[in-house]
Amino acid sequence: MTSSTARPAGVAERPDQRGPLSNEQLRQMYETMALARGLDERMWLLNRAGQAAFVISCQGHEAAQVGAGFALQPGKDFLLPYYRDLAISLHFGLTARDVMLSLLGKQGDPTSNGRQMPAHYSSRKLKIVTGSSPVATQLPHAAGVALAAKIRGEDTVAFTCTGEGSTNQGDFHEALNFASVRQLPVVFFVENNGWAISVPMAKQMNIAHVSERAAGYGIPGVTVDGSDPIAVYTAVAEAVERARRGDGPTLVEALVARFTAHSSDDDDRMYRPLNQAQELRANDPNLRFRARLIEEGVMSEEQVKEIEARIKVQVNDATEFAENAPYPDPSELTLHVYGS
């Protein structure tokens, strides 16, 4: 399989299978998806209440992110995320408190101590690499992270994410080409929600699937249903194996939905019909995955209640913790410009 065109649109390679995942792992998958959603919804409340100046959402992307995350080895592999990657960042070890501290720009925010906008997830300890706001710049970084691993003979994988609109940037092209020429252990993960702020897919590129771009670099390109975490897990696991084997990069496109406006600064009613946003939510991957796990006997109603309860506690605790945390002192402004 070297291109999505080998398959009907948006259909995963082995949608029926769930791969070698234990029921315990499947429940963890769901819990991380649900925690991300819970935090995300709380962030919007804080924004509407005037406590958070800016929010940008993972809502609709959780299944794709967590499915991918389970194919990686947090602590060993590197994650180079973009601003929608709350769910996979949680899977890599970022905590609810970390997220709320950065949302409110409070002292102790491990991603930047309040310097960056929210959603710029970062932690050297967790191997989540600091990113900027200009899109696609993390793709060449991922190639470089993988280059270092390859030079040292390690089987670490660099996993980097971006949106489909960002694949129109020169850095996307240069990064995939560089990674392919050097056969580097990197996976390029595109979360295709069909919109770049207000610009629909058709005005962004003249192809049906981003994965068709893989052909230009001589690497495999896959399109998976991003609403099915197991399908995403399967596709990413294969890409990760390929990378560890030394067979080079893969471009994986997950078809997802953007439930919210682009960000709290956007109003999507200007450019997409309200009913479209509603239709998208009607097919909520989190609800579908929960129903499926219950139906398949992987998770009991009891366990669901426990999970929801745990999440409620975490979200409340994180919110309170961040609200009570102090702001960085103004004297911090000039720290960390240079190391020496």
Binding site: M117, P118, Q169, G170, V199, K203, Y271
Partner: protein
């Protein structure tokens, strides 16, 4: 004379010029149905259609490169870069191409494009939605750079920029968009590129500024006068390249004391060139060192309130510098 917000003056002038001249087009990310992320181009795609108001793919180098090509084939393109902070990947097209086309072709070709972009901070935009990196562009011969902060100047300079035969970087302060309201003359008001404006005349010292810091400077100057601290002249550069040497030097020769204020960091900023120009051309008239105030000398403006506030100069820090200057 109508009273308009800075953003309204720009919006109305864009529409006026596109109605008057078919060669004018607007291209950029989200400039269509969204009307731009700040709504500068609100309702324009409805009036002019998507052949003249173009939602481009997310690729800044292509936006500028295609605008250059279109200008070489008879159009007068206005390219919007969504945030100044995202212009970097287009720098090759701006600095190596647009700015050098006339010179390298010995005048055979020229490149009449306008690059509009929101810049500046104080809106919780953090490191990548707050930048003031105009000095990267003002050092480039072949390029013109303007940064109007009054609605009338924005309208008048945008008109000049659209019809200028050379590439013009048109900087719009995003905090000023809806913070600055003032009168704008009707029908076809034009402000020439390269002319500064004495916003307030005075005799004891001169503040040279532009952008939102011009308003902080005005407030500081008025506050000082009220407590009898001296009469301060305030100049709005408006054009950062070419600089209005004449207006600058005239004022310096009158007051003998200069404070330069901008939001960008000091090192290598526009203020450095203005200061160097003044020592070269008006040294004998100086009664005190030319002083500069700028944003903090750090990579960019942080997000969280207290750090953002600490980054920016303000009426108080400017006032303190004025008193130091007066004391000389």
């Amino acid at each position: 004379m109508a009273t308009k917000l800075l953003i309204e003056a720009i919006h109305d002038t864009l529409i006026d010029e596109m109605r008057k001249d078919e060669r004018v087009i607007l291209m950029g990310e989200d400039v269509g149905a969204r009307g731009g992320v700040f709504r500068v181009s609100a309702d324009m795609i409805e009036e002019f259609g998507d052949m003249r108001v173009i939602d481009t793919p997310l690729a800044e180098s292509a936006i500028i490169g295609a605008a250059i090509g279109a200008s070489l084939n008879g159009l007068l393109p206005i390219a919007e870069i969504q945030f100044f902070d995202f212009i970097h990947s287009a720098m090759n097209q701006i600095l190596n191409e647009a700015a050098k086309i006339r010179y390298r072709s010995n005048g055979d070709f020229h490149c009449p494009i306008v690059i509009r972009t929101p810049y500046g901070g104080g809106v919780h935009g953090a490191l990548y939605h707050s930048q003031s990196i105009e000095a990267i562009f003002t050092r480039e011969p072949g390029l013109k750079v303007v940064a109007p902060i009054f609605p009338a100047d924005a309208a008048g300079l945008l008109r000049s920029a659209i019809h200028d035969g050379d590439p013009v970087l048109f900087l719009e302060h995003k905090k000023g968009y809806r913070a600055i309201r003032d009168e704008v003359p009707e029908n076809g008001h034009v402000v020439p590129i390269g002319k500064a404006r004495v916003v307030k005349s005075g005799s004891d010292a001169t503040i040279i500024s532009y952008g939102m810091m011009l308003h902080e400077s005005l407030a500081a100057a008025r506050a000082l006068e009220e407590k009898g601290g001296g009469s301060i002249e305030v100049i709005d550069l408006r054009s950062l390249r070419p600089l209005d040497t004449e207006t600058i030097l005239e004022s310096v020769m009158k007051t003998g004391k200069v404070l330069i204020v901008h939001e960008a960091n000091r090192f290598g900023g526009v203020g450095a060139e203005v200061s160097a120009l003044i020592s070269e051309e008006a040294f004998a008239w100086l009664d005190a060192p030319v002083m500069r105030i700028g944003g903090a000398e750090v990579p960019a403006m942080p997000y969280t309130k207290p750090l953002e506030a600490a980054y920016l100069p303000n009426q108080q820090t400017i006032g303190a510098a004025l008193e130091k200057l007066a004391a000389f």
